[in-house]
């Protein structure tokens, strides 16, 4: 248990130190800006996020989802598109 705690504290310290060292404490620094929060934009953001990049996803509507969120169901399984 104690060991784990130490490990976590280490991680936290390390990430803070890293950020400071690189001067990225500024929250407005990212890798990729994705414009449009429809299915394509969401997929792009998820992939890049998973591949180790920091992503901003910008959507002009009050929610992400795009037109696909308006579709009832989709071909061919007529699964819910949400």
């Amino acid at each position: 248990m104690e060991k784990e705690l130490e490990k976590i504290e280490d991680q936290v310290r390390k990430s803070l130190a890293d950020n400071l060292r690189k001067g990225f404490a500024d929250r407005n620094f990212g890798d990729v800006l994705v414009v449009g929060g429809g299915i394509s934009g969401i997929q792009a953001a998820l992939d890049l996020g998973a591949a180790g990049f920091k992503v901003y996803l910008v959507e002009k509507a009050p929610s992400i989802g795009g037109h696909m969120a308006q579709l009832d169901k989709t071909f061919p399984t007529n699964d819910c598109s949400m």
Partner: protein
């Protein structure tokens, strides 16, 4: 977890606990969310279980299976309404079929005990490579299936029931045949084979069979 994980013993458990109906819903056939098409296994299990229910005097309509996708909310609601109505029409389990509670429990218990055996048999003899609901219907209503069922399961089930009866108290062949609704000659056939296997013994003094 896939519909194919829905086990014969789960269905029997629900009926043993007095459920009036059991309804299984799986993904649409041939639209498996895994790559395994386990919903066909569920379909096969349902057919077999219905046959077992019929055999022990339960209305097989109490067990139902439907296939639909996660997006078909309206269909789901409609089907659920139908099922509710149907189960109400079928009436209370056992009573509607005219089986008394104790006998029903015993029968279900006998089938439950047979589940491991049924699994083996199902795998060896009753697993079918079909990929449509119709083909399943055809197979499970065929003479071939009836023959296999009689050959592989009916006797075992009778013996399983007899063993359960004898666990409570020794009984005569006549008495057993009365309780189980079998002919005395069938019962003596089972008693002979069971005593040969050393499962039961005949108590000369009481003219009864008892567990060995």
């Amino acid at each position: 977890m896939c519909t194919g994980r829905v086990d014969l013993s789960f269905v029997l458990r629900a009926f043993s606990k007095g459920a009036d109906g059991v309804f299984i819903i799986g993904c649409r056939l041939n639209e498996c969310n895994y790559i395994t098409h386990g919903n066909f296994h569920a379909l096969s299990m349902v057919h077999l279980c219905k046959k077992l229910m019929e055999h022990i005097g339960l209305n097989p309509a109490r067990l139902m299976i439907e296939f639909m996708s996660g997006g078909e909310g309206i269909l789901f609601a409609e089907v659920m309404d139908d099922i509710g109505k149907k189960v109400n029409e079928l009436g209370p389990l056992g009573k509607a079929e005219g089986i008394d509670e104790k006998a029903l429990r015993a029968k279900l218990e006998a089938v439950t005990q047979l589940v491991p055996y049924i699994r083996l048999v199902e795998r060896e003899r009753l697993r079918i490579p079909f990929k449509s609901e119709d083909e399943f219907d055809t197979f499970f209503t065929s003479d071939e299936f009836n023959r296999l069922f009689n050959e592989l399961i009916v006797d075992k089930l009778a013996i399983s029931q007899i063993m359960l009866l004898l666990r409570e108290r020794p009984l005569s062949t006549v008495k057993i045949s009365e309780i189980l609704g079998l002919t005395p000659s069938e019962v003596s056939r089972h008693m002979n084979s069971s005593s040969r296997q050393g499962l039961v013994r005949y108590d000369e003094s009481r003219k009864c069979f008892a567990l060995a």
